[in-house]
């Protein structure tokens, strides 16, 4: 059986790729994709921990299910906000969305 640590390493790698995407991407949709990757890493973590450490108890699985339900609603709201800004400015590039600054 694959050891638990492999899953954790994959999840940590996914999380880091997600963080890199968030920091390096200029496009708001790209940033959103990075965030989704981070959440996917969390879900992988949760499911792996649940399966290996406490398979008899439901809490880890419930946590994972709730995380992807919330991730979906977060993505929906995020895309709605991106659309509303696209309608005003015809751009979704974060650097060009810069009226507010000191």
């Amino acid at each position: 059986m694959i050891p638990l640590s492999w899953y954790l390493i994959v999840a940590a790698a996914m999380f880091c790729i997600g963080i890199y995407g968030v920091l390096a991407r200029k496009n708001a949709v790209g940033i959103l994709m990075g965030i989704e990757l981070m959440l996917a890493a969390v879900i992988l973590n949760l499911v792996a921990f649940w399966r290996y450490l406490t398979p008899a108890r439901i809490s880890g699985q419930a946590f994972a299910v709730i995380v992807f339900a919330v991730a979906a609603s977060e993505a929906a709201v995020g895309l709605a906000l991106i659309i509303s800004i696209y309608r005003r400015r015809s751009t979704v590039v974060a650097d060009e969305i810069d009226i507010l600054k000191w």
């Binding site: 954790l8 940033i31 809490s59 709730i66 709201v77 995020g78 800004i85 005003r88 969305i97 507010l100």
Partner: protein, 486 residues
């Protein structure tokens, strides 16, 4: 397991949440079937509904001797949670009153329904005792707040602030959630109070614990807008509809602090020195950065944003001064109460001024003392209270928070706080100088104050004065309330 027992009296622990859900439904119903005229009173409906829930909480919702985990360990029905719920309901009611009749969102049912949903999320946040519940509550609060910040679809600033709030918020919550997943993994539990024992039993290395604490602090630091996670605050505060700015800067921050203290005390008691050191550094940077950047601001909403960042720094002093209990956390709670009523009063003036003149620039406040003496006086009270002048609430709050720092041996931290309070006084007085000493051409143009706004403003100012002048009972309350955190 006794934790899984259910008795009907446990429903009293979620009395406010149930009430808020019903209220959100009523608001949407009135919005759907009501005539145009009745929609204008949605703000009143929301505020009176929140007030009714507040009264019901005092009658039935008090945690009695049965204080403890309820509903399968998801929530903890205790005095800190109760106090925070009262505070949050008050802040939301004031926000609803300030939104009444405002164009173009004051007659929109979904605006008030989303507001009520965020209050529900925050109420769950402050009583959550389980990682799953905590995450769900934080997101129930955040996601409607993103929408509310970007509610003015026809306004460039508002849409931008909504998007920025969303991006920063989603990143912070994803990092925090990664921390949650590790905490769950290394303890095998999701209940905050059970997992502390699990973590202890595993003999984890302090480095690993510290890493998890750090990830979690990122998420909470965003909620309380503490440096270095404060970048969103000025932009979001400036762009969001002003009542929502008031709400984010008060209620959202208070709920964030409630969660921060509960999680740190319940989950990480073993590495208290470590997280206290991190939070001390954050407190110093937050105070100093907030105050120094506030000096340069021309827009009053941005200025209040930086001032609210600085206040997060002061409040963090109370969290850091956790030993010996309970003065540190009690002073934190007292500061939050004082800060919430004061900041709401300040924003009430900003809302009223912008409503008549359409401007948020500080230079336009010239001659306000002649245009509307009452409004100018309210601003004076609010800003002096924020600056920490007696006899207002902010003074009492600052005294106790610095006293807590001294008591726990952090005299230098209290010293940094006092210096920062002096810097703060300078920029608050700069606004008052413009209001009272400068003349303007349209001094004969009055500023209209509608009934709802007047009620909100008078309520907040009265609270500032009452807390400031009669401080004893409030301190006793907070001292008693926080004792069940330990």
């Amino acid at each position: 397991m006794p934790i899984l027992e259910f008795t009907p009296s446990m429903l009293l622990a979620i009395l406010s949440e149930m009430g808020l859900l019903v209220l959100a439904g009523i608001i949407l119903l009135v919005d759907a079937i009501g005539r145009q005229g009745s929609r204008r009173n949605l703000g009143w409906l929301t505020a009176s509904g929140l007030a009714a829930i507040l009264i019901a909480m005092f009658i039935w919702g008090k945690p009695e001797a049965s204080e403890g985990l309820v509903l399968g360990g998801m929530l903890r029905h205790d005095w800190p949670a109760f106090t925070f719920k009262i505070l949050l309901l008050f802040a939301a009611a004031v926000t609803a009153l300030l939104s009444t009749g405002m164009k173009p969102f004051g007659d929109r049912g979904e605006f008030f329904a989303l507001l009520v949903v965020t209050v529900m999320g925050m109420n769950l946040m402050v009583s959550a005792a389980d990682l799953i519940m905590l995450y769900l509550a934080i997101e129930t609060t955040s996601i409607p707040l993103y929408v509310l910040a970007g509610f003015l679809k026809g306004d460039d600033k508002s849409t931008e602030s909504g998007l920025k709030y969303f991006l920063f918020g989603a990143i912070a919550s994803a990092v925090m959630l990664y921390g949650f997943s590790l905490i769950y993994g290394f303890s095998g539990e999701t209940n905050l109070y059970a997992l502390a024992a699990g973590v202890q039993a595993q003999q984890l290395s302090p480095w690993l614990m510290g890493g998890m604490a750090l990830l979690v602090i990122v998420g909470f630091g965003f909620k309380i807008s503490a440096a270095p996670f404060h970048f969103w605050a000025p932009d979001v505060y400036e762009g969001a509809p002003t009542p929502i700015t008031a709400y984010i800067s008060t209620a959202s921050k208070a709920a964030g602090f409630a969660v921060l203290v509960r999680v740190m005390l319940a989950v990480f008691p073993a590495i208290q020195a470590y997280w206290a050191a991190i939070l001390t550094a954050m407190a110093v940077v937050t105070m100093t950065l907030g105050n120094l950047l506030a000096l340069a601001q021309k827009n009053i909403k941005r200025l209040l944003a930086y001032s609210s960042i600085a206040h997060a720094g002061y409040i963090l002093i109370g969290v850091v001064a956790v030993n010996p209990p309970p003065l540190g956390t009690a002073s934190m709670l007292l500061y939050l109460i004082a800060y919430v009523v004061t900041n709401l009063a300040a924003f009430a003036v900003v809302v009223l001024f912008a409503r008549s003149t359409g401007s948020d620039e500080i230079e336009d406040y010239a001659g306000l003392s002649r245009r509307s003496p009452g409004l100018a006086l309210s601003l004076l009270v609010a800003l002096l209270s924020l600056a920490g002048m007696p006899p207002f609430a902010g003074f009492i709050a600052k005294v106790y928070i610095f006293a807590a720092a001294v008591q726990s041996g952090l005299i230098w931290l209290a010293f940094v706080g006092v210096i920062n309070a002096i810097i703060g006084l300078y920029y608050y007085l700069t606004i008052l100088k413009v209001v009272y000493l400068y003349r303007s051409d349209d001094e004969d143009r009055r500023i209209a104050i509608p009934g709802a706004h007047a009620v909100a403003l008078v309520g907040c100012i009265a609270a500032v004065l009452i807390i400031g002048i009669i401080s004893g009972p409030w301190l006793d309350w907070t001292l008693q309330a926080v004792s069940s955190w330990f």
